[in-house]
Amino acid sequence: MNPVIPAPVPVPLPAPTGLLEFLLVFTFILHLVAMDFLLGGVIILTVSSFLGRRDSRHYEFTRRVSRVMPPVTAFTITLGVAPLLFVQLVYGQLFYTSSALMAWYWLAVVFLVLFGYYGIYWYQMQHDELGPKAVWVILVTAILFIHVAFLFTQNMTAMLRPQDFYSLYLNGRVGSIFGPVTLLNTSRLLHFLVAAVALAGLGVALLSHRWKTESPELADWGSRYGVTLFMGATLVQFLVGLWFLFSLPLEIRQALVGNKLAVGVLVAAIVLALLALLTAPRNLSMSSVAILGTVSMMAVLRHFVRMAYLAPYFDPHTLPVRGQWVVFSFFVVLLLAGLATVGWMLYVLFRPVATRGVSA
């Protein structure tokens, strides 16, 4: 059966496909870092909240970490908007179709995120009042966000298989068609969850460092705990990552092996992960930079996998282009101005107390 794929809209792309793909991958990396902290963070908080019922260090740790979770959630959502915009622009006809087939489930993401977000606030604002019940709040929140990750994994995999669209359509009612949960999807989901715990582990280790002056003991303990989580999860990731890699269809793996750039990116990602692992106990900053490199390389590799999947069906580089350069330049200028503004606001918030104004 010939695959049924909607035709792209007859409006030219507003920039060359390469630039749009770069922005897609770049903004996805930004989203990924925040998302990892959020998803890994709620998983770590759930475990620590449970342990914190008997261990005061875990209790204090969850209280402090919970404070950064609302902004992390906000930025995960906002940073996610950009890659979703570019994926719709470049791969819209695949993304909309896979989404429409599973519309009810896909729509559920909005509500899961909404309730999860309020869960984060509830946990943070009522941390002490909730007492032992706090663990349930954060557990439910974690389940909601893991569910979001699951739905994303399903849809992002489904959109790569246009050859399945029509048969799925024939065998169900549009909106209620949930593709099979394969070993590939399971390993992919696990790959993301383990990465999230690793990154969030490193994140809380860095965060704990900030408590050095007020509570040096907790800061040390928190750092060690975070690093342990990071190292443990990264070691597990070598296995999960392999499983995921070998769950990919043979032709996709062959396409990757045949692409020298893709192989180079994978090797770089692994080397950087090893570097992060080795430096984590002594040099958190270096380890963080290395792991950011791994995440970036993995996002690039993911793009190669997507291209390999879609190669027989769709090449976005064939789409007509009519650059909207004036408004694009405007976007770049505003982005720089916006980042400078955020930088200034963060500077005034975190600058040493002595230089603050009278009422501080």
Binding site: L79, M345, R356
Partner: protein, 454 residues
């Protein structure tokens, strides 16, 4: 046609979008107006050296963060999620035309969210002047995000010169953009007052409470002066058919447009005679009733604004069922089933007319009509005989200006008519006439008198 049509059972896609969109509009306009309310009221507290008022602003900012950053942000993404599911073709078009507009809006979102958090966390860490500056940065970014999205929204109803020029500037600077921006900015200010009435009604200190309640009411009353003027300007930019639909052309839309005016007047009257004139008698229950009234006003107004765009999703370019005007001729020639990608039958099966008709319905009508729920087609054709249905289909856009024309072959139209007729089985004595327009009940193919009665 190009995409599988998701028909969310009884609700209908439009209704799902409507529910999320109306709640989002109600919160997102507060996100902008509240952003003006916070620094202005904070400054007022400093100038009057009023620590109690400053405490109120602090507590209001917590409420603001919880409502705006969570519900506002998620529901905003939610609309986008949802329009992609219900109208992928139109969403894809909007994204192609406006991607850099959206990218710019994204920058404003980042600034907005960072500023909101820093404003909220900065109460005890920033000096008053810097804190106020952060508040103004928030408002600037929030209003700028409205500036961007407003142009994209009005584009759908008044795409103006874009139809010929197809450039970003011709799309964004469309006829409805400026008046709509004024209306929405005024609504933002009004909603800032509505939400402030909720938080101020709960203030314990009686003197402060009365002052803030009155002050919040002024926000709503002042903006109520601007809304009608900007509104009239906005309506003057609408396509003439859109104006006609809201002024008698379609009874339901006219009713909603009228309700919008009525509810707005009620909201202003209740605010004037309630919190403004008698702040001491104002209560939180009253505040929530006013908020409910404001939400209803937002709901009917946005509903009417969406409805007057019919039969288009993008005026003069794409119909509500995602068919482009430019493609109509070709689809008419080769038939809708052959043109559509997501059908089980690619041409009318003479042995399965009803099933073929159902397919035509799914492709061409299901983006607005459900079978049994919202805008139910079963209800719409109740009492019509085959000839009446066929006549209506053949002259759809002439008889009902808010509907796109039927497009497809004659066989497809007859099959659709046949399926529509089967939705309301007739008593055995009357028999079934099928989609045959040459039936004795209407030999000329016109609806005979009384044909609308079962």
């Amino acid at each position: 046609m190009n995409y599988p049509v998701w028909e969310p059972h009884l609700l209908g896609g439009g209704m799902v979008i409507g529910i999320i969109a109306i709640l989002h509009v109600f919160v997102s306009h507060f996100a902008v107006g509240g952003g003006l309310f916070l620094p202005l009221t904070e400054r007022k507290a400093y100038r009057e050296n009023n620590p109690a008022l400053l405490e109120y602003v602090k507590s209001h900012s917590k409420f603001f963060v919880l409502v705006v950053l969570v519900f506002g942000a998620v529901s905003g993404v939610g609309i986008w999620w949802n329009i992609g599911l219900v109208s992928p073709e139109a969403t894809a078009t909007l994204i192609h035309v406006f991607v850099w507009g959206w990218a710019i809006e994204w920058v404003f979102f980042i600034v907005e969210i960072a500023a909101a958090f820093i404003y909220y966390y900065g109460w005890d860490r920033l000096d008053p002047q810097t804190h106020l500056t952060v508040g103004w940065i928030y408002f600037g970014a929030a209003w700028a995000s409205l500036l961007v999205i407003n142009g994209i929204l009005t584009f759908m109803l008044t795409p103006g010169r874009w139809i010929e020029k197809q450039t970003f500037a011709s799309a964004y600077f469309n006829p409805g953009m400026l008046p709509s921006l004024l209306v929405r900015t005024a609504v933002c200010v009004a909603l800032a007052g509505v939400y402030a009435l909720i938080t101020s009604s709960a203030v314990r200190d009686v003197v402060l409470r009365n002052n803030v309640v009155r002050y919040a009411a002024q926000w709503l009353l002042l903006s109520a002066l601007a809304i009608p003027l900007a509104g009239i300007w906005y309506i003057s930019t609408l396509p003439s058919m859109a104006r006609e639909i809201s002024m008698g052309g379609s009874p339901v839309v006219t009713l909603f447009a009228g309700l919008s005016i009525l509810l707005s007047v009620l909201l202003v009257a209740f605010t004037y005679f309630g919190p403004y004139r008698h702040p001491q008698a104002f209560s939180t229950v009253f505040a929530f009733l006013l908020a409910a009234l404001a939400l209803s006003t937002t709901g009917v107004t946005e509903w009417a604004r969406e409805a007057v765009r019919k039969p288009y999703t993008i005026y003069g370019y794409m119909y509500s069922n995602s068919l482009r005007l430019a493609d109509m001729e070709q689809v008419q020639e080769q038939g809708i089933l052959k043109s559509a990608k997501w059908v089980r039958l690619h041409e009318v099966d003479p042995n399965a007319l009803e099933r073929s008709g159902n397919e035509v319905f799914n492709v061409e009508c299901a983006s607005c009509h459900t079978v049994n729920g919202y805008n139910s087609i079963r209800f719409a054709v109740k009492g019509w005989d085959g000839a009446m249905i066929d006549y209506q289909l053949a002259h759809l856009n002439e008889l009902k200006g808010f509907m796109p024309p039927f497009v497809g072959t004659e066989a497809e139209r007859k099959a659709l008519a046949d399926w529509l007729l089967s939705l309301n089985p007739r008593p055995a004595s009357l028999g079934r006439e099928g989609g045959d327009s040459a039936s004795p009940r209407s030999s000329a193919g016109y609806p005979v008198e009384g044909a609308a009665q079962p």
